[in-house]
Symmetry: C2
Subunit: 208 residues, 2 copies
DNA sequence: TCGCTTATTAGACGCTTGCCTTATAAGCAC
DNA sequence: GTGCTTATAAGGCAAGCGTCTAATAAGCGA
């Protein structure tokens, strides 16, 4: 009968999903939203739109859109650190090789691809004015540096070397700077050149 | 008489200003707004509020808030490049000294102070999705690099030196990376340390 | 001093947002 | 199957935004 098809504005689909899956969906939609629309375009409603759920559902899983943003940031940092460690630490015996793998991972699609790279910039922006975002950012930076230190620990000490803290800080800066360069134009400075420049910087900073 | 004071919600002040002054006011308010409230908080109405004018005035001077943002970005880049050149070029005869002055200027309150530093992050964010912002960013980077090249041109060529393009790219990355570091926490990496690290990087990259 | 240009304000409109409340049904336990 | 939990949807509400229009007066040239 036509009436059953016409009268009620039938909810198109109402599949239930496990809370963990839905939360992950919303987090993923948030990253995509941030990457493609920036801070201004990332609204709670737009995130839900991308996740394919009604806008009321966000509140069911997160206190508010801001909180979803923060949790997304936390999870992204956690995941990235875990992968960095998994990729580089097994080769810590050959520091320059371990660093090279680290660089490759940093500029991989997983963390610098078009569907995610823009999100980091928004998080950094938040870190300036919001203490909770700043805390996540601080913890991330600290742990990232600690990992770098472990990676270069096996390098032989050289007489003309920089103080280790300075060398780490500079390598870290080169990474961030090239990341931005790549962010602004992957045409002008493609991924392979970024990695090559990182390698060159590592050799210069820690001795050949 | 009370009536004259009470009846009309008297416009508190309606001083006229020259178009150039008002435009400059609005641009300055935009920078301040971006720095303190980020992309999301920077609305046309908030900018006008900070500039002390009614929200209708924005439209009288700029096509829309977005356009004001773009013009602000352009002017900021122009001003910064001009100052960088004025500060460093007179000392080009002593490249390391010229670079040092350049670094000092980059991390000065004029361009990295709390009332402005956050604005750059927002502009970078825009550059990713908006072609007009990307064009400004590209031009700025190009000219900044050209200036760096002129500054180090007088350095003696060394046998073990990096290709000049690589060295410039790395120095540029160090600058951007430390700038972010400073942006994220001027406590952890204070201004003087940023400049010192830049100096160290320059010595390493271009030979002592 | 008068009048014209235009800088400036104020208000209305439609839209979107975040928040909240209510209604519905999906899927598990029994 | 039946019933309860709860994931999900949908709509209402106030507030804020960008855009536009109309009204006002500031300050200059005559």
């Amino acid at each position: 009968m036509a009436s059953t098809a016409l009268k009620p504005p039938v909810p198109p689909r109402r599949r239930r999903a496990s809370p963990l899956v839905r939360r992950a969906d919303l987090v993923a939609a948030t990253v995509s939203c941030l990457a493609h629309l920036g801070a201004k375009g990332t609204t709670g409603r737009e995130i839900c739109r991308r996740a394919g759920v009604s806008h009321g559902l966000l509140r069911h899983y997160f206190r508010n859109p801001d909180n979803l943003l923060l949790e997304t940031y936390e999870q992204l940092c956690e995941d990235m650190l875990a992968q960095m460690e998994a990729v580089a630490m097994p080769h810590a015996a050959d520091p320059l090789d371990a660093l090279h793998r680290y660089f490759l991972a940093v500029f991989s699609d997983d963390w610098a691809g078009p569907d995610i790279i823009g999100a980091w910039m928004v998080f950094w922006q938040q870190a300036r004015s919001r203490a909770d975002f700043a805390a996540v950012s601080d913890s991330f930076n600290l742990r990232q540096r600690a990992l770098l230190e472990r990676l270069v620990a096996a390098l032989p000490a050289r007489a003309d070397a920089l103080p280790m803290a300075d060398a780490i800080a500079l390598l870290s800066a080169v990474l961030d700077g090239l990341w931005i360069e790549y962010y602004l134009s992957d045409q002008r400075t493609p991924r392979e050149r970024c990695v090559a420049l990182c390698d060159a910087a590592a050799r210069r900073l820690f001795g050949v």
